[in-house]
């Protein structure tokens, strides 16, 4: 009997690794970055300038980085939603079974393409294209980044939305059709509202993926830390800032600590999106 107990204990310990990891992630981000909050102080984060390497005045304002991340994320989400949702509707409701069996794995392949390869593709093909279309000096801007990020969010949105649409009970559809509604009316007024919470969960998850994506934005948004709402301007996201600057800082310096603070802020954003997504996902999970 002790053997059974030992095995159970071993399995339980393995399962708690996830919990411990999450705790350690928060702990170590604070351990490396926490000193920044006392000196130079938390107030210096609320600043409109990020100039961590300067002989005159080093400033660690997070606003431009957060603004950059948000601009790219909202643009990407706005582009990804119609494609993702229509794609999910097509695969779940319209495509023939054969067609579906080919389309689904094909779109999953997109999810598997490494982000650095997508960034590379963007650098060579998309950025010059955006530059020519808008007559810009450079195609490295928020729009190029958002287009690529949308491409990366679409598979997430499609896969989870399609699940949600499919799990809508058959009886709902039959009832609607029996009342004389057309297939299109049934889709828009019965199936979609019933799947809405799942679709919202999918979008939130896609957004989480977009805001946390590093290589694509690092390679293609131009990386100028400025506050702007124009998609054709260069922006610098939180993720790109960490990736670009961590290699060059002295360990333990204020700049080093500030980058860990950026990591904490980023983690809080994705954590919030995750919780939001989970709340909606649960709602649709409970219904069926």
């Amino acid at each position: 009997m002790w053997k059974e107990k030992a095995i159970k204990f071993g399995l339980m310990s393995s399962a708690s690794v996830s919990v411990i990891s999450v705790a350690l992630i928060f702990l170590f981000l604070f351990k490396e970055g926490g000193d920044f909050l006392s000196s130079p102080g938390i107030g210096s984060l609320f600043d409109t300038r990020w100039t961590p390497v300067s002989f005159v005045n080093e400033r660690f304002g997070l606003y431009p980085l957060i603004a950059g991340s948000l601009l790219v994320t909202f643009l990407a989400t706005a582009i990804a939603i119609p494609f993702g949702v229509l794609g999910a509707v097509y695969i779940a409701e319209i495509a023939k079974p054969r067609e579906r069996e080919i389309l689904k794995p094909f779109i999953e392949i997109l999810a598997g393409i490494p982000s650095v390869v997508i960034g590379f593709f963007g650098l060579i093909i998309l950025a010059p294209f955006v530059k020519n279309v808008f007559g810009l000096y450079s195609g490295l801007n928020a729009l190029s980044g958002a287009l690529l990020l949308a491409l990366m969010a679409i598979p997430t949105i499609i896969t989870i939305s399609e699940d949600a649409i499919k799990s809508c009970p058959k009886s709902y559809r039959q009832a609607s059709l029996a009342m004389g509604a057309s297939r299109l009316q049934t889709l828009w007024r019965v199936v979609m509202p019933a799947s809405l919470s799942g679709i919202i969960a999918a979008i939130a998850l896609g957004m989480g993926r977009v805001i946390g994506e590093t290589m694509v934005v690092l390679m293609i948004t131009g990386n100028a830390p400025q506050i702007t709402a124009s998609p054709l301007e260069s922006v610098r996201t939180m993720t790109a800032t960490i990736a670009a600057e961590m290699g060059e800082v002295a360990f333990g310096s204020e700049h080093y600590q500030a980058l860990f603070i950026v990591g904490i802020v980023l983690l809080l954003f994705t954590f919030a999106l995750n919780i939001f997504s989970r709340l909606f996902y649960r709602r649709y999970g409970n219904r069926s």
Partner: protein, 285 residues
């Protein structure tokens, strides 16, 4: 019959949108294959880079990526499978279970660059592994852990309840039941998860950026405490940091193609395995 036109219009629109997505995927793959295939040669795959990557091969980057993904899966697979067994077979609905689930979802949502920061803080500095294969593999292992847990759980759940009941009714202990009557049937599904995990680990750049990857290191590693080059990082360096970016374009495409082939081969393998597994489970019911 005005409504039918609306439906035809909507269906065509949805079809157009879906196929335009697949067209973009196909174009990305096509572009990289077309421009990369000419670079691939035995020298490219088995040679060492020279001139900062402008000439020579990419062997150290291939070897580095293989070591890092193998290291990640060696750590993550046992942990992930054990977690999944605990969650599906032992854990009843409770506070602890709920906490583990929340942790898995949170872990799955942690941005890859934050994993890099964490790996830097814990493995590179605190445990003093330095910038090394060990630090990089452990960081990647935590990153792919949620994928492995979730796919393993699915595989375990797909095993019919009666298999377990039959064994328990004969007096077998719970662990014996799991070992002989559950795990063998869940194995292909678990394999799917681990293959997906390897593919993801091989393609990630941000976590290894801060924990292991070397800019230019034209030799093979001697121990797990060595730095290595890795394909994704090598591509990033060639495409953005190299002094003569236009000149090394063929090398960029070649590296991108090798990386793409490795990652897609793993993903495709996982997809094929999964569909086979699902068919097998269905036929047993």
């Amino acid at each position: 019959m005005k409504r039918d036109y609306a439906e035809i219009f909507f269906n065509s629109l949805a079809r157009l949108v879906t196929y335009s997505i697949t067209a973009v995927i196909a174009y990305i793959i096509f572009d990289i294959v077309r421009n990369g295939i000419g670079v691939i040669s035995w020298e490219f795959l088995s040679g060492f880079p020279s001139n900062g990557g402008a000439k020579g091969g990419i062997l150290p980057a291939i070897v580095g990526t293989v070591y890092l993904s193998l290291g990640a899966i060696i750590v993550a697979l046992p942990l992930g499978v054990a977690s999944a067994i605990y969650l599906t077979e032992y854990g009843k609905q409770g506070k602890f279970n709920e906490m583990i689930r929340l942790a898995i979802v949170t872990l799955a949502g942690v941005p890859s660059i934050v994993f890099g920061l964490f790996g830097l803080g814990l493995f590179v500095l605190f445990f003093d592994f330095g910038s090394s294969i060990l630090a990089g593999s452990l960081t990647l292992a935590l990153m792919i852990l949620p994928t492995i847990i979730v796919t393993s759980e699915e595989a375990l759940r797909a095993v019919p309840r009666s298999y377990r009941e039959g064994s328990l009714a004969l007096g077998a202990t719970q662990w014996t039941t799991i070992r002989t009557n559950v795990l063998p049937y869940a194995l292909p599904g678990m394999l799917t998860g681990s293959i997906l995990g390897i593919g993801r680990a091989a393609g990630e750049t941000a976590p290894i950026l801060l924990t292991v990857a070397a800019f230019f290191l034209p030799r093979l590693p001697d121990s797990v405490f060595d730095q290595v080059m890795a394909l994704p990082y090598h591509l990033y360096i060639l495409a953005t940091q190299h002094p003569e970016i236009e000149l090394v374009r063929p090398m960029q495409y070649g590296t991108a193609l090798v990386l793409l082939v490795i990652v897609l081969a793993f993903n495709l393998g996982a997809i094929v395995l999964r569909s086979r597994f699902q068919r097998k489970i269905k036929s047993q019911h």
